[in-house]
Amino acid sequence: MTTPLTVTRIAHASQLITLGDLRVLTDPWFTQNATYYPGEPVVRTVETLGPLNALVISHEHYDHCDLDALVAGGFDLSTPLFGPGTVTALAATKGFTNLHTIEAWETARVGDLTVTATPGKHGVHEVTFVIAAHGRTVFFGGDSLHIPELDQIPERFDHIDLAILPVNGLCIRPAGLRQVVMDAEQAADLTAVLKPTLAVPHHYAFHSGFLGDRMITKGDRDPRHYTDALGRIAPEINTRIVLPGVEVTVP
């Protein structure tokens, strides 16, 4: 029998993934500040997360690595935390105790859960992940750019059941509009390579406030650009745009 696989977006890139009885939370973000707005409801508080088998964090940016909110909310700091060295070093200073440092193509295991860091590229050091357990496999794209190394994933892993990809093509205005996140077309190209059973876009509702959107960031807030592109490039792949809080079961 196939192990049930579900994903529920809490907001932005915070995804609650269940693989059978295992519960994994990616890139936690629960707060907001003057120039970081989720732009969509945050459907869980730290207090209502329930027990987790793992935290998986792609990089240390505030909107992906809100460790302060976890600590303030009484989160169990002995929960296994997987991430690159930049994240685990930060987590250690916040009191997290069960740290698993993995860089690109390195794997760590806790119980039945296997987490492999896959390559990533962003404004700071970032990895993406392949998260696997009980014969189900998830690709988590964080907010990486689409780099050629990611196209090697199918050579190294069996079938991907679920691919979660960023799609807003975020550009940083003060850095000459340097692009730091894959855009809808690039995400669709990567999806066509990964050939998942289901692809879910994320990382598109976020904004920087009225002036911040004009002075700091430029991003695409319409996820239909991704599903439209995928429909053109790889129409055989199923994709779903979901609101936060909607539990999606992957066939």
């Binding site: 003057a34 120039t35 970081y36 406030g209 002036l211 911040g212």
Partner: protein
């Protein structure tokens, strides 16, 4: 510098039951209207009202335009002794109104208040627009002393085309008007704070500094220095405009604010 608060807590969905025609209607109210706080300068609230209408109508936003206590016949309590006190009062106003992602827009003295509000690090404030602001001290670019100037002389300094200056109301009476007294009380005799530039160096907010090219009170060099004092700023020079772009070239000012970054 940034303050993180639980997401959504600053403008929560409000649930209430409202009775209409005897029927109780359970209502959930989600308000994501974009709020702006407009801060007028020494010329009083009248220098901002036209632009407030334009901004609200054109961008379908919520535009908050207070009259600084002491201006326009209102009372300035002793507790509001300087620009910082006024800035703190306005942060309190935003708390009271329960708004977030607020963009502060201030002209002249209002620009100084906007800078002081930005420095208070409220999570409700997401950015500031300083339009021909005062408050800093810039070597080689002194602010023109406008004390005791006749209205025509003041208009000449304030407008690119003085013919566009609104006709000042006939005041009658003698001595400084209550507005001038209130301004002097907040801004002090030099109308500046020698510590402001240095304090702005640590600011973590986006600030758009916009300047009328023909400003005869604080010149564009002063404006560039204002932007340079801010670690995260953009400077826009408005041609054919003076110290009060919202009065002289309101459409161009709105365009500069709204189209920034396109």
């Amino acid at each position: 510098m940034t303050t993180n608060v639980p997401a959504g807590s600053l403008r929560p969905t409000r649930s209430s039951t409202i009775t209409v025609n005897g029927a109780g209607i359970a209502l959930a109210d989600r308000d994501r209207t974009r709020p702006f706080l407009l801060l007028h300068g020494g010329g009083g609230v009248a220098t901002m009202t036209g632009f407030a209408d334009l901004l609200a109508e054109r961008t379908h936003s919520r535009v908050l335009l207070p009259t600084h206590p002491g201006f326009g016949g209102t009372v300035r309590p002793a507790s509001l002794a300087n620009t910082k006190d006024l800035a703190a009062a306005y942060v309190g106003l935003l708390e009271e109104l329960d708004v977030s992602d607020v963009t502060i827009i201030g002209n002249s003295f209002g620009g100084w208040i906007a800078a002081e509000i930005a420095l208070l690090n409220s999570p409700r404030v997401s950015g500031a627009v300083i339009v021909d602001g005062i408050g800093i001290e810039v070597q080689g670019h002194p602010m023109t002393n406008v004390t005791g100037l006749a209205p025509a002389e003041l208009a000449k300094l304030s407008f690119h085309d003085p013919a566009k200056a609104p006709r000042p109301p006939a005041t009658g009476g003698t001595g400084p008007s209550p507005d001038v007294q209130a301004l002097a009380a907040y801004a002090g005799p030099t109308m500046s704070d020698p510590t402001l530039s240095e304090r702005l160096a640590g600011l973590d907010l986006p600030v758009h500094v916009i300047w009328g090219e023909s400003d005869g009170i604080v010149d564009p060099g002063y404006g560039r220095a204002y932007a340079a004092a801010l670690p995260h700023s953009t400077f826009t020079l408005l041609p054919r405009s003076g110290h009060l772009p919202q009065v002289e070239t309101p459409e161009e000012l709105l365009g500069a604010i709204d189209d920034l970054g396109r």
